[in-house]
Symmetry: C2
Subunit: 223 residues, 2 copies
C-alpha cells in the first residue's frame, strides 16, 4: 500500500542541524496493523506525519498505491490527507468552538461514506459527553473525541500518534479492541505510535525507532 | 499540610448537571508522595486543580497550612499558586513564543530560591534542546519542559497531572527517579496523577477515584 524510500528529515537550527529521520525505508502492506515504538524524540511523530501527508521529507520518496506523494503539490497532498487518511494527533487538535459531536461530524463530512458520528462517540464511551466543548472535557475524553473523529472517516489508512496516552489501562484496552475491530471488519491499514505494551502485543508487526533510524522491524509471533 | 473537606465540584450544563467531584475529603501530610489513580473522566484533574488553587470547588473547604484557601480572593489564590505550588499540566501549557530554557526561567523568577533552569532541563534529558521553541519539540520533550519548569520553582507542593503520559517506559522511569530524589532531598510534598503503574508502586500512598468519589486510600506497603 505504502512505500517509504530513504526518507530523511532534517531541521536546520542555524549552528546545529537536527536529524529527526536519517535514511529511513519502510514498506507497509494493505490491512496491516503496525505499531511504532521508540524513545521520546526518536522520530516517531515525524515519520507518521510524513506517511500521513502532514509533512514533507527533506529527502527520499513516499509512494501511496504507486503514486509518488512526495511530488504532490500542496493541493493534491491536501486531497490525499482528506480522503485517504484518518489521523489521531498526539495533542488532539480539536476545534475548541465545536462540541464533541460537531468535531466528529466535521471530519465525517470530508468523505463519501463516513460512519455515524454518534455511533463512533458511543464506541469510545462518550455517549454522555457529545454536547460538551473540548474545554469541558477531561484529557482522556478529548483524546477519545480525536479517536472518534479519525475513525468516523472510515479511512483506508488510520494513523494514531499515541492514541491511548491520556487513558487509564481499562479505557485504553477498549480503544485497542475498537482498532482491532476496525482492522478486521474494514481491512483498514492501521499504524499506531504507542508506549502501551498491550497495543504492541496485538499488532501484526512492530517497528522500533532510535535516534531517527529503524533499528527493528519484526512480525509479531502472536496471532 | 493540606486538608480537603467535603469538596464538591458540579458543572451546570443547562438540562444536565455534571458532578465532577461528589463530597470528597482528603488529608495530605508534609513530605508525602501520593499517587492518584482512576478511569478517564473520574475527576482526577478536577481534584488536583482545586488542591493547586487552579480552580475553586462548588462546595467544601480546602486548608493549606491551616489557612482556608477556599476563602481567598483571586489575588491571594494567585500568590498561593505562584509561591507554594509547582504544577505540571496534562496539556503542558508552555509559552509558544519562549524557548524551553526561557519557559523554565520564567517560572523560576516567580520564587525566591529557584533551582537553576539549565540544570533542571539537563535532569530531564533536554540539555540539547534548550533553545528549541515548543513547536520544535516532540510531545515527550514538551512534557519534559513542563516538568523542568515545575521543579525549578522548588515548591513546597509539586502537583503533576499525568507527567509521564507522553513518555516511553525508560524516559518515564528517569522522571520517576527525579521525583523520588526531589521528595527525599527537599521534603517536597508530591501529588501525581498517573496511569503509570511504576509510579504508583513507588508512591507512599495511593488514592483511587471513581465517578467523582474516592473509593480507595491506602498506604503503600513497599518502602
Ligand atoms: N467545564 C466543564 N463542564 C462540564 N463538564 C466538565 C467540565 N470540565 C470537566 N468536566 C467533566 O468532569 C469530569 C471529570 O473531569 P476530569 O478532567 O477531572 O477527569 P480526569 O479524571 O482528569 O480524566 P482523564 O483521566 O481523562 O484526564 C469529566 O467527565 C468531564 O467531562
Ligand atoms: N520544527 C523542529 N525543529 C527542530 N527540531 C525538531 C522540530 N520538530 C521536531 N524536532 C526534533 O526532532 C526529533 C524527533 O521529533 P519527533 O516528534 O518525531 O519525536 P517522537 O519520537 O514523536 O517523540 P515523543 O515520543 O516525545 O513524541 C526531536 O528530538 C525533536 O526535538
Ligand atoms: Mg511524538
Ligand atoms: Mg485529567
Amino acid at each position: 500500500l505504502l512505500s517509504l524510500e530513504n526518507i530523511c528529515k532534517t531541521y536546520d537550527m542555524g549552528e546545529v542541524k537536527v536529524e529527526a529521520l536519517k535514511d529511513t525505508s519502510l514498506d507497509i502492506y494493505r490491512g496491516e496493523l503496525i505499531v511504532i515504538l521508540g524513545p521520546s524524540g526518536s522520530g516517531k511523530t515525524t515519520l507518521l506525519n510524513i506517511v500521513g501527508g502532514m509533512d514533507r521529507p527533506t529527502a527520499g520518496k513516499v509512494f501511496y498505491q504507486g503514486k509518488n506523494i512526495t511530488e504532490f503539490r500542496d493541493r493534491e497532498l491536501t486531497l490525499y490527507r482528506r480522503r485517504e487518511v484518518g489521523f489521531i494527533f498526539q495533542l488532539y487538535n480539536l476545534m475548541s468552538s465545536l462540541t464533541a459531536r460537531e468535531n466528529v461530524e466535521l471530519a465525517a463530512e470530508l468523505v463519501k461514506k463516513p460512519l455515524p458520528a454518534d455511533q463512533m462517540l458511543a464506541s469510545v464511551g462518550l455517549e454522555d459527553r457529545m454536547d460538551h466543548f473540548p474545554s469541558q472535557l477531561s484529557g482522556g475524553e478529548q483524546q477519545r473525541v480525536a479517536i472518534a473523529r479519525a475513525v468516523a472517516k472510515n479511512p483506508g489508512l488510520l494513523l494514531g500518534d499515541e492514541p491511548t496516552g491520556a487513558l487509564d489501562y481499562e479505557t485504553g484496552i477498549q480503544i485497542l479492541a475498537l482498532l482491532r475491530e476496525i482492522n478486521t471488519s474494514y481491512g483498514t491499514t492501521i499504524i499506531i505510535i504507542t508506549h502501551n505494551i498491550a497495543i504492541a502485543e496485538m499488532a501484526d508487526r512492530v517497528v522500533r525507532l532510535r535516534s531517527g533510524e529503524i533499528v527493528e522491524d519484526r512480525e509479531n509471533s502472536k496471532p
